[in-house]
């Protein structure tokens, strides 16, 4: 938590922004737990890819895949800094964002072992 707070404060541009960030991190305004997932992606196969939040910055990205019925069927680990936008039987399309905010689209081969 301290790391997240420090990182947010480093981007504050003025005293008001600093005060507002401090308010968001005050104990009464914190959630009880970290988010359980980041987003849902509806793949072309009808499956749902659920993005799990990273425990620390710079870590690989984890996804859980749900079958069309909702049953969890697989975990997938992807390189850090990417988010899935589409997936097929043997490929996954992701967007990578670098430190400057420039994005690249990448396609990886997917192996369902």
């Amino acid at each position: 938590m301290d790391g997240a707070r420090t990182a947010d404060l480093a981007e504050a541009r003025d005293a008001l922004a600093t005060a507002l960030i401090e308010a968001t991190y005050s104990p009464n305004n914190l959630p009880a737990n970290l988010p359980a997932f980041e987003t849902l992606v509806a793949a072309g196969t009808g499956e749902i890819w659920v993005e799990r939040p990273a425990q620390r910055r710079g870590e690989p990205v984890q996804y859980v895949v749900l079958a069309q019925t909702g049953v969890p069927i697989a975990r997938v680990q992807l390189p850090e800094g990417v988010r899935v936008t589409d997936a097929g039987r043997d490929y996954v399309v992701v967007v990578h964002r670098d430190e400057d905010g420039v994005e690249t689209v990448r396609v990886y081969r997917l192996v369902r072992a």
Binding site: T24, A32, R75, V105
Partner: protein, 265 residues
């Protein structure tokens, strides 16, 4: 007495893997449309080309090996133009774009020569759909998935969730929205400015929100702070709660049982 057996544990999840390096990398930066800055969606087309919905250029780009990049859309209010690329989806090689500013859906065919197919005004008849609803998906029967997020209560300082709603709209994007659920949406913090008349509304730390997507016959939704997702079967009108696999989630507040030495009790 009949013996009872404990339910069988769920099978372990498979571990899928991806290639160590990408098979395709697209960086934009061509002379006509510049780098990719706000990718709203990217998917593979039937001929292997890659479509990219680019919020920076307000259009859809098409990339195929051995072909010059294609582009359709662009910033504006005219036919085929986009003022705010809020959401994109696709039906085969047809892209569907919801313009949140112009409140309309535009369909584009993404063949070698991309072209506009049609425009559909989004006109829900109920107030919530009209004022706050955004199209974020489509079922195979044509119904449109709607996500609406209303407003926070500025009179309640501190952390709160903005109310979120999930609904379905007729294929022609008119009539009342059939609201399926109300779910806590974006977490914000209301901070009074001390004057007694104004407040600041800022995203909460470790923010959560309402995630909503559609597959051909189901709507999936849930707050990202919860370990569960709801699957609404659109054919049966039945809801199922999907429990996500266990993953340790660290507590952030003292109420979670952390002692003064910051170790779990």
């Amino acid at each position: 007495m009949i013996g009872c057996a404990a339910p069988a544990p769920p099978p372990p999840l498979a571990h899928w893997s991806v290639s160590p390096t990408p098979t395709i990398t697209i960086a934009g930066g061509d002379s006509t449309t510049g780098p990719l800055l706000q990718v709203r969606g990217a998917w593979r087309l039937s001929d292997g080309a890659i479509a990219v919905a680019d919020g920076g250029s307000n259009g859809i780009r098409r990339f195929a090996s051995g072909q010059p990049p294609g582009f359709i859309g662009g910033r504006g209010d005219g036919p085929g133009e986009i003022r705010q690329l809020s959401w994109t989806g696709h039906l085969g090689d047809t892209a569907v774009v919801f313009d949140g500013a112009l409140r309309r859906l535009t369909l584009f065919a993404l063949g070698r020569e991309p072209r506009m197919l049609s425009i559909l005004r989004v006109l829900p008849s109920d107030e919530r759909g009209r004022d706050f609803g955004a199209i974020v998906g489509r079922l195979s029967d044509g119904r449109r998935l709607v996500h609406a997020m209303t407003r926070p209560d500025p009179a309640r300082p501190g952390r709160q969730f903005i109310p979120g709603f999930v609904g379905l709209l007729a294929p022609d994007a008119t009539g009342p929205v059939d609201w399926l659920a109300e779910v806590a949406d974006m977490a914000v913090v209301i901070v009074p400015d001390g004057s007694g008349t104004m407040v600041n509304i800022v995203p909460a730390a470790f923010p959560t929100s309402l995630a909503v997507v559609a597959t051909p016959s189901a709507v999936w939704y849930g707050n990202t702070g919860a370990d569960t997702i709801v699957r609404f079967d659109a054919d049966l009108a039945a809801r199922t709660t999907v429990v996500l696999p266990d993953q340790p989630r660290r507590c952030l507040r003292d109420a979670c049982g952390w002692g003064p030495d910051r170790r779990p009790r």
